[in-house]
C-alpha cells in the first residue's frame, strides 16, 4: 500500500525533503509526497516532514496561516529535521518559537555557535549498522528528553536524534547527502 507524506512548505529546504521521500518511496506504488501550505493539506496524510529552515520564521508563519492547532493535533508520524526538531519539541530556550509539543524534549536553538561551526560527522545512530554522515547546520540539540522519548544518537553537545511513538526528530539533515536509511526506518515505524 502507498504512503501519503506531506512536507510542511512554509519556509526552508522543502524541495530536498520532497525529493528524499520520493526516492525512499520509489518502490511503494500508490505513494504520494506533496508540499503542505494550508491546514486542509494535512487531512489523510500518514506522515508529515517538518523541514530545516529558520524556526522563528516558520513558527511565525504557522501562526499566521492558522496552522498551529492542526499541526499540534496531527495524527500521523512526524519526521522533523533541524528547525523542524525545534518546532516538534515541547520546550525550547527561545520564547519567539511556539513549539508544537509533539515530542517530549527540551531543545536549545543554535547549540553549535555560528555557521563556521557547522559540521559534518560520522554518527552512530541506534538501529543503523554503519555510521550515518550527519550534516549539522546551525543545528539545535535536545538538552533533556522526557518520558517515552528514545535517544537514537548523542554527541558531546547533546542529543541529536530521537524517536517518540511514530515521530522522529533530527538535529542534522538526513534529507541532504543522499543516505535514506533514516527515512526508511521512519517509514517502517509508521506501520502503514
Amino acid at each position: 500500500m502507498g504512503v501519503k507524506v506531506g512536507v510542511l512548505a512554509l519556509q526552508g529546504d522543502v524541495a530536498e525533503h520532497i525529493a528524499a521521500f520520493r526516492e525512499a518511496l520509489a518502490d511503494r506504488p500508490g505513494s504520494l509526497v506533496a508540499p503542505v501550505r494550508k491546514a486542509a493539506g494535512l487531512a489523510d496524510l500518514d506522515a508529515l516532514a517538518i523541514p530545516g529552515g529558520e524556526s522563528t520564521t516558520i513558527s511565525r508563519l504557522i501562526g499566521k496561516n492558522g496552522m498551529y492547532e492542526p499541526l499540534a493535533g496531527f495524527g500521523g508520524g512526524v519526521f522533523a529535521t533541524c528547525a523542524g526538531m525545534v518546532l516538534a519539541a515541547d520546550r525550547v530556550d527561545d520564547p519567539r518559537v511556539r513549539t508544537l509539543n509533539l515530542i517530549p524534549m527540551h531543545v536549545a536553538r543554535n547549540a553549535f555557535g555560528r555557521q563556521v561551526d557547522s559540521r559534518e560527522v560520522y554518527l552512530d545512530v541506534a538501529g543503523l549498522v554503519d555510521p550515518f554522515r550527519a550534516v549539522f547546520i546551525r543545528a539545535p540539540v535536545a538538552t533533556e528528553v522526557g518520558p517515552g522519548t528514545e535517544v537514537l544518537a548523542r554527541i558531546p553537545e547533546g542529543v541529536v536524534a530521537v524517536r517518540s511513538a511514530r515521530h522522529m526528530a533530527f538535529a542534522f539533515h538526513p534529507e541532504l547527502g543522499g543516505d535514506l536509511r533514516l527515512h526508511r526506518m521512519f517509514l517502517e515505524g509508521l506501520g502503514v
Binding site: Q115, V116, E120, V121, Y122, V135
Partner: protein, 298 residues
C-alpha cells in the same frame, strides 16, 4: 562519533546553509534595532550594513565593508543568521567577516570593487558566500569560484525592480535553453557563456542552478517580491525597500507574507493594503554610467 572525521566548511554544509534560507526574506539592516525588527517580522536572515544601498548611492565615494563593531552589535542582537558584505575581490574583508562570526559573506557589487580582474577564491573559506549575477554565465563563474548561493544583481538602491526581472529572466531562460541540447551543443554553449562545461551540464540535468538562487536589487513592495518568486526565485533580498518605506515594520511583515503566499493574489492584495509610501524609486535609464552598480564584476 569519530572525532577525526569531523569536518567543517564542506560544500554540503555551505550549500545546505543556503538551502535553509529558501522561501525566505533576507533584510538589509544598519543597527541592532532594525535587526530585531527584521527578526520579529519573520526575516530568515539579516544583512549587516553601514548604510543601505540607497544611502551608499547618495553618499558616493568608496563604499567598504561595514565597521566590525557594527557587525558584532547586530550579531549579538538576533538569533537568525547574519550576513555581511565584502568588496568584490577583497579577500581580507571576507577573512575579517568570517573571523567576526558572520554566517554568510556577500561578495557584493554594491560596495566599490577592490579587484577588477578576480573575484574572491571562495572555495578556500569555511564561511559560505553569496554572489550577484546578471546571467547564467556569470552565475556559473561564481559557483565555480565556490559561491554557495547566487542572487540576481538587479540594480541596488533604486527601488526599481526592472533590472532584477531582467536578470532573473536571463538566468531562468538561460537554463531553459539548455533543455534538449546534446552534449556537443552543451560544450559549445559553455564556451559561449564562459562557464565550466561541467556546471552547464549539471544545470541542464537539474533544470535549475546547482545552488540556491535568490533575487535582489530593487525589490520595494510585496508585489515586487511575489513577482520575483513567480519568476523562479528561491527567496528575496530586500535592501533599501524596507527601511526607506513609510512604515518599515508593516512593510517587512507584508513582504514576508507575500513571499510565503507568492502565488495567492488575494493574500498579496490583503497585505499590500495601506502600506503608505514605498521608497521613492529611481529610473535606471537616467543613471550615469558610473552610477550603475550591476556592471561591477563579471
Amino acid at each position: 562519533m569519530k572525532l577525526e572525521e569531523l569536518r567543517f566548511g564542506t560544500e554540503l554544509i555551505k550549500r545546505g546553509f543556503a538551502s535553509m534560507q529558501k522561501g525566505g526574506v533576507i533584510m538589509d539592516v544598519v543597527n541592532a534595532e532594525q535587526a530585531q525588527l527584521a527578526e520579529e517580522a519573520g526575516a530568515v536572515a539579516v544583512m549587516a550594513l553601514e548604510r543601505v544601498p540607497a544611502d551608499i548611492r547618495a553618499a558616493g565615494g568608496v563604499a567598504r565593508m561595514a565597521d566590525p563593531q557594527k557587525i558584532v552589535e547586530i550579531i549579538d542582537a538576533v538569533s537568525i543568521p547574519v550576513m555581511g558584505k565584502a568588496r568584490i575581490g577583497h579577500f581580507v574583508e571576507a577573512q575579517i567577516l568570517e573571523a567576526l562570526g558572520v554566517d554568510m559573506v556577500d561578495e557584493s557589487e554594491v560596495l566599490t570593487p577592490a579587484d577588477e580582474q578576480f573575484h574572491i577564491d571562495k572555495a578556500g573559506f569555511s564561511v559560505p558566500f553569496v554572489c550577484g549575477a546578471r546571467n547564467l554565465g556569470e552565475a556559473l563563474r561564481r559557483v565555480n569560484e565556490g559561491a554557495a548561493m547566487i542572487r540576481t544583481k538587479g540594480e541596488a538602491g533604486t527601488g526599481n525592480v526592472v533590472e532584477a526581472v531582467r536578470h532573473m529572466r536571463a538566468i531562468m531562460g538561460g537554463i531553459r535553453a539548455l533543455k534538449g541540447m546534446d552534449s556537443q551543443e552543451l560544450v559549445d554553449r559553455a564556451r559561449e557563456i564562459e562557464a565550466s562545461t561541467e556546471l552547464v551540464i549539471e544545470c541542464a540535468n537539474l533544470g535549475r542552478l546547482p545552488v540556491v538562487n535568490f533575487s535582489a536589487g530593487g525589490i520595494a513592495t510585496p508585489a515586487d517580491a511575489a513577482l520575483m518568486m513567480q519568476l523562479g526565485a528561491d527567496g528575496v533580498f530586500v535592501g533599501s525597500g524596507i527601511f526607506k518605506s513609510a512604515d518599515p515594520e508593516t512593510t517587512a511583515r507584508a513582504i514576508v507574507e507575500a513571499v510565503n503566499h507568492y502565488d495567492d493574489a488575494k493574500v498579496i492584495a490583503e497585505v499590500s493594503k495601506g502600506l503608505g509610501e514605498a521608497m521613492k524609486g529611481l529610473d535606471v535609464h537616467l543613471l550615469r554610467e558610473e552610477e550603475v552598480l550591476q556592471t561591477r564584476g563579471r
